[in-house]
Symmetry: C2
Subunit: 269 residues, 2 copies
Amino acid sequence: MASTFDYVHGYTTREAERLGDQARSVAALLHSDTRYPAGSLVLEAGCGTGEQTVTLARQSPNAKFISVDVSGGSLDAARAQVRAARFDNVVFAQTDIYVPPFAPATFDHVFVCFVLEHLSRPTEALTHLKRVLKPGGTITVFEGDHGSTYFHPDSPHARRAVQCLVDLQARAGGNSLIGRELYPLLTAAGFRNVKVSPRMVYVDSSRPELVEGFTKNTFTAMVEGVRERALAEHLIDEQTWQQGIADLYRTADPDGTFCYTFFKAVATR
Amino acid sequence: MASTFDYVHGYTTREAERLGDQARSVAALLHSDTRYPAGSLVLEAGCGTGEQTVTLARQSPNAKFISVDVSGGSLDAARAQVRAARFDNVVFAQTDIYVPPFAPATFDHVFVCFVLEHLSRPTEALTHLKRVLKPGGTITVFEGDHGSTYFHPDSPHARRAVQCLVDLQARAGGNSLIGRELYPLLTAAGFRNVKVSPRMVYVDSSRPELVEGFTKNTFTAMVEGVRERALAEHLIDEQTWQQGIADLYRTADPDGTFCYTFFKAVATR
């Protein structure tokens, strides 16, 4: 059972803060329509530091969640978040998403958020998750798609910096363009009734909370997080990188705009 | 007063059919929330062949529309469409969008759809339109953004073919990446209370009417329409072009997906 996981964004404190900003600034857009009936048993596969766990627990107070992750450190952070928010409907377990230690047809529903993008075999992971889901139960999957990023003013340097993130994730075996692919992935894993719902984040200066919370502190911070690796792997030169990051911040000016799309998919076993 | 207009898509019958497919497949997404009160006088600036005019007239039967275009041929087609649909609340006039022959503060509202992308001076056009709008009246602007296009399977050849359209429009003085720019454009033209609402078209094989009506017969047909000019101006070689178009059609297969975003903006004088 793999105990390490090549998480492209790393496990630093700034990354934890970034995830918090991301979760708060787009939580309503992504999760407001994700609710589970009272008494449901739901597997959250790949809970990370618990950003979505808290939202899940809040929105479905009478469902029971088993939230698993491969990283013990992330689970500690997730446990602390859920405890601080005083929810008692979540149980945590350290486990590999490819080897879920649960009997077939254990869960009423499965929830997977920002996980598949990091996996080299997403269809295999989905197939395992299908096995532990009851017939007729649903899987809900959220993923971003870095290829959905565009902004004003446009900048080839900024696009180049974003591409570093895409390339690094690909080198690590992941796929940061996976959002657009949820329909064929879920279909290939044997799910039925696949419904995809894109959630586009559009930011201009009339939405200051998204300028700060999303453009700067979520997306640009995420790109900045791979600086050392991008330079070390010679994906970009230092000058282009600096200009690219400056141009990303430039889109947060009063006449700038920023666009990014997350994808939600719901399907049935 | 300019009587010609370098419309990148041309004025052919296939282009007219393409516009019809586009209008029908995404009309609800774009226009279902565009309605004008009874008695309003609305300027539709750049009505083209009348695809949006029919929707406007249907959705606001008790408003009065003055629909103008620079092309007499397009106006004939628009007139025929409105007549066939038996609407009597539209008057047509041939005029240049930069020189609207109306007194200041004539209109309660202004509507502009898929026009600014073709103009070299969009802010100037908006300023002229503001002049003929009553204080407190609204302008509604729709534009696409070809940079919002992405698909599965991804293909550098297909992206290259799409880029030909972007480059040709830029050479003709237009800007096919203008959707993301509506907020700063309207602000720069002096409008207040600018609200932008992106309208993303997401297509997978569970939505067959969009596979046909949008992916194939709207978007890919639009790209195919610039084949001769793209080759003549050496923007692409014949083999890459053919592969690019084939790859765009490939996204309409059962495991393909296609994404494109239109932008609606509403602002107040």
